[in-house]
C-alpha cells in the first residue's frame, strides 16, 4: 500500500481505539485532505472529530494545544510544512515548552502532520523541508518516515505519545508502495532502521532521501563497494548509537538530506559522530544536501535542489 494509505489506516485505527483522538486542519474533512490522507475519516468519525478549519494555522495549532492539555489527542494537518512558519509561535513557545514551564503539570499530546519537500515546481515557499527549524527546540519530537510501514507504525506511536510530535511526510514518497502487515504494530521512537548492511561507508539518509541512498547502495555494489544505509526515522530522539556503531565499522560517513546544506540535519549528525567516534573516522564527513537557495519553480533548476542517486554515489566515491 502507499504511504498515503498507510497514514490513513493509522489515523483510522487510532481514532477507533481512542475517542480522544481528533483530526483537524484545512480541507481535511469534506475533501479528505489535499493529498487524501484523511479521506473517509469524516464519514466514519463525523464532523465533531474530523474538523475542517478556516485558514488560521496559528489558531488551530493553538486550539489543538488547548485541547491536548485538557484531555484530547489532536492530530493537526499543516498542508505544506512551509506553513509551520505561520504557527511557529504556538509550536515553539507553547507546545514545546508548556510541560516544562508548568513544572510537569501539563502534557501536550499533539501530533502535527505536515508535508515536506514538494519536489515539483511549487516554489520556494511551498517546498521546504524545515526539520532543522525545530531541532534546536527541546520538548518536541521530530519524526521523518520514509516507507509506508514506518509511516503507519510511527504515526501510531506519535498519537500515543504524550509529547508534541512534528511528523514530516515526504511528498516525493506519498505514492510509493510498500508492504504493511494486517496486524497492529507500532514503531518506537529513537530506533534507526538499517536499510542495507555494508562495510565501506555509512550513509545516513533522511526522509525522501532514503530510497535514493538505497539505490546508491545497489549501484555501488556493482562497483564492489558496500555502503551501510541508515534511516534514523526519528530525528528527536535521534538514534545516534546505531549511527556511531556503524561508523565504527565503516570509518566513513555521508549524510543525505534535501534541505539546504547549511544548518541542515547533516550538521548535527556529523557533529555527534565526531564527538563520539572521532578516532574511528578515516575521512571527512560529506553532507549531501540541497544547495543554499530557495527552491526555484523552473524544472531544470528545481531538479538541481533535490540530491540524486548520482550525487550520493559520487560522494561515496570521493570518500574512498
Amino acid at each position: 500500500m502507499s504511504m498515503v494509505e498507510a497514514l490513513r489506516e493509522a489515523l483510522a485505527e487510532e481514532m477507533r481505539r481512542d475517542s480522544s483522538v481528533i483530526v483537524m486542519g484545512e480541507d481535511v474533512g469534506v475533501l479528505g485532505g489535499i493529498y487524501r490522507v484523511t479521506q473517509g475519516l469524516l464519514e466514519e468519525f463525523g464532523p465533531e472529530r474530523v474538523r475542517d478549519t478556516p485558514i488560521s494555522e496559528e489558531a488551530f495549532m493553538g486550539a489543538a494545544i488547548g485541547a491536548a492539555v485538557t484531555g484530547l489527542r489532536p492530530v493537526v494537518e499543516i498542508m505544506y510544512a512551509d506553513f509551520l512558519a505561520n504557527c511557529m509561535n504556538q509550536i515553539v513557545n507553547f507546545a514545546a515548552k508548556m510541560r516544562y514551564c508548568s513544572g510537569g503539570q501539563l502534557r501536550v499530546p499533539v501530533v502535527v502532520r505536515t508535508m515536506v519537500g514538494h519536489g515539483r515546481g511549487h516554489g520556494g515557499d511551498h517546498s521546504q523541508v524545515p526539520m532543522t527549524w525545530f531541532m534546536n527546540i527541546p520538548g518536541l519530537r521530530l519524526v521523518a518516515p520514509s516507507t509506508p510501514y514506518d509511516a503507519k507504525g510511527l504515526l501510531k506511536t506519535a498519537i500515543r505519545d504524550d509529547s508534541p510530535v512534528l511528523f514530516f511526510e515526504p511528498h516525493l514518497l506519498y505514492r510509493v508502495r510498500g508492504p504493511v502487515p494486517e496486524e497492529e504494530y507500532t514503531i518506537p521512537f529513537g530506533r534507526a532502521d538499517i536499510k542495507r548492511r555494508g562495510e565501506d561507508v555509512t550513509i545516513v539518509a533522511v526522509s525522501a532521501m532514503v530510497p535514493r541512498a538505497v539505490e546508491a547502495h545497489e549501484r555501488l555494489r556493482e562497483e564492489g563497494i558496500t555502503a551501510e544505509v541508515i534511516d534514523p526515522r526519528t530525528l528527536n530522539p535521534l538514534d545516534i548509537e546505531t549511527i556511531v556503531e556503524s561508523v565504527k565499522r565503516t570509518n566513513r560517513l555521508i549524510t543525505v538530506e534535501y534541505s539546504p546544506k547549511t544548518g541542515g540535519v547533516g550538521a548535527e549528525i556529523a557533529a555527534l559522530v565526531v564527538e563520539r567516534a572521532f578516532d574511528y573516522l578515516d575521512a571527512p564527513i560529506i553532507r549531501v544536501a540541497a544547495p543554499d537557495v530557495p527552491v526555484p519553480v523552473s524544472p531544470p533548476l528545481g531538479r538541481m535542489t533535490v540530491p540524486t542517486v548520482e550525487e550520493i554515489v559520487e560522494a561515496v566515491e570521493a570518500l574512498l
Partner: protein, 318 residues
C-alpha cells in the same frame, strides 16, 4: 441574578487578597527576590474577581503575563503562587515557570501565556475539549486590549465563534500596552465592537465595578454553557502601576490620568457598596485582617521555601 451577600463578601476578600498580594510581590521585587519581571494587577481587581466569581470550580481559566490575580480569584493557593513567582521548588510549576507562567491545572488555571494573545486560540481548544468530552464546563480567557491587535485574537475568536465553543473572552482594557496607548494602536474605540467581526456578542462593562463585571460574566457563562458560543466582554479599567514592577509607569502616561483612575479604586468602591447593603465595618475589618495575615503567610512560605535542586533541570522536558 446577583450574588448573595456572603458571596459578595468573598468577592471583596478576593479583591483584597489580590491587592495585598501584589503589593507584597512589588516589595519582594524591589528587594531582589523575584527572578523575573512581575506584571502587577493593582487597580484591575474587579475584573479577575468579577469574572472568576461567575465560574464554577471545575471551569477553566487562561491568563497572561499579568496573571497572579486570575490565579488568586480562581482559588489557587497564594503560598504556592508566591513560591512560583520566587522560583521556588514549592511553587505551582516547581519554580520553572515563574511569575509569567504561574498556573495550576488542578484549580482550573490551565496556563499563563506570556506571549501576548497566544492564550486566545489555546482557550478555543480548551473549549473544544469541553465540547467533545461533553461536560458543561466553560473557559474564561483573559487578555489586554493590546492583545486585541495580534493575529491570535482574530483567528482564535473566529474559530471559537464558528464552532460555538464555551469560551468567555475577557478583554481587560487598561488603556495601555506597555507604553503604547490604545489610541496609538488602533482606531477602534471599543474592543468589544470587534465581536461583530466574528458574529458573536460583544459587551462593554465598567471594569472597576465588580458587580457589573460579575453580571456580564454570568450572562456569558449562561450562553456558553447553553451551547450558544463565546462572548467578548471588554472591561474598561486601568493599571495603577507601571507595566511591570520595575517600571514607574509615568514616562508614557499623564500623572493626572493615573491620579484620576486611582480615585476610582474598585476595592474602595465595592467596600462602600457592601456597607450600604448592611455589612458592618467590623465584618470588613476582620476580612481585611485575615487577608493581610494570609498574604504575609504566603510570602513567608515562599521566602522560606527551597529552590529546586539541580536534578530538576532535565525533568519535565518530555
Amino acid at each position: 441574578m446577583a450574588p448573595s451577600l456572603d458571596e459578595m463578601i468573598q468577592m471583596y476578600r478576593k479583591m483584597l487578597e489580590i491587592r495585598r498580594f501584589e503589593e507584597a510581590i512589588a516589595d519582594l521585587y524591589h528587594r531582589g527576590e523575584v527572578p523575573s519581571s512581575a506584571h502587577l494587577y493593582i487597580g484591575q481587581e474587579a475584573v479577575a474577581v468579577g469574572v472568576c466569581s461567575a465560574l464554577r470550580r471545575d471551569d477553566y481559566v487562561l491568563t497572561t503575563h499579568r496573571g497572579h490575580a486570575h490565579n488568586i480569584a480562581k482559588g489557587v493557593s497564594m503560598r504556592r503562587l508566591a513560591a512560583e513567582i520566587l522560583g521556588k521548588a514549592t511553587g505551582l510549576c516547581k519554580g520553572k515557570g515563574g511569575s509569567m507562567r504561574a498556573s495550576s491545572l488542578a484549580d482550573g488555571v490551565v496556563y499563563a501565556c506570556p506571549i501576548v494573545g497566544s492564550n486566545i486560540p489555546i482557550a478555543a481548544g480548551v473549549g473544544l475539549s469541553i465540547k467533545l468530552r461533553g461536560t458543561d464546563q466553560v473557559v474564561a480567557c483573559f487578555f489586554g486590549e493590546g492583545a486585541s491587535n495580534i493575529g491570535d485574537f482574530h483567528e482564535g475568536i473566529n474559530l471559537a465563534a464558528l464552532w460555538r465553543l464555551p469560551v468567555l473572552y475577557v478583554c481587560e482594557n487598561n488603556l495601555y500596552a506597555l507604553s503604547v496607548s490604545q489610541r496609538r494602536s488602533t482606531l477602534v474605540e471599543d474592543i468589544a465592537s470587534r465581536a461583530s467581526a466574528y458574529g458573536i456578542p460583544g459587551v462593554v462593562v465598567d471594569g472597576n465595578d465588580v458587580l457589573a463585571v460579575y453580571e456580564a460574566a454570568r450572562r456569558a457563562v449562561e450562553d456558553a454553557r447553553g451551547g450558544r458560543g463565546p462572548t467578548l466582554i471588554e472591561c474598561k479599567t486601568y493599571r495603577w502601576l507601571g507595566h511591570h514592577a520595575g517600571d514607574p509607569g509615568f514616562a508614557y502616561r499623564p500623572k493626572e490620568e493615573v491620579e484620576a483612575w486611582r480615585e476610582r479604586c474598585p476595592i474602595k468602591r465595592f467596600r462602600r457598596v457592601l456597607l450600604s447593603r448592611g455589612v458592618t465595618e467590623e465584618e470588613l475589618a476582620s476580612v481585611e485582617e485575615e487577608v493581610e495575615e494570609a498574604v504575609r503567610d504566603a510570602m513567608d512560605f515562599a521566602l522560606e521555601s527551597p529552590y529546586p535542586g539541580p536534578e530538576e533541570l532535565l525533568r519535565d522536558v518530555y
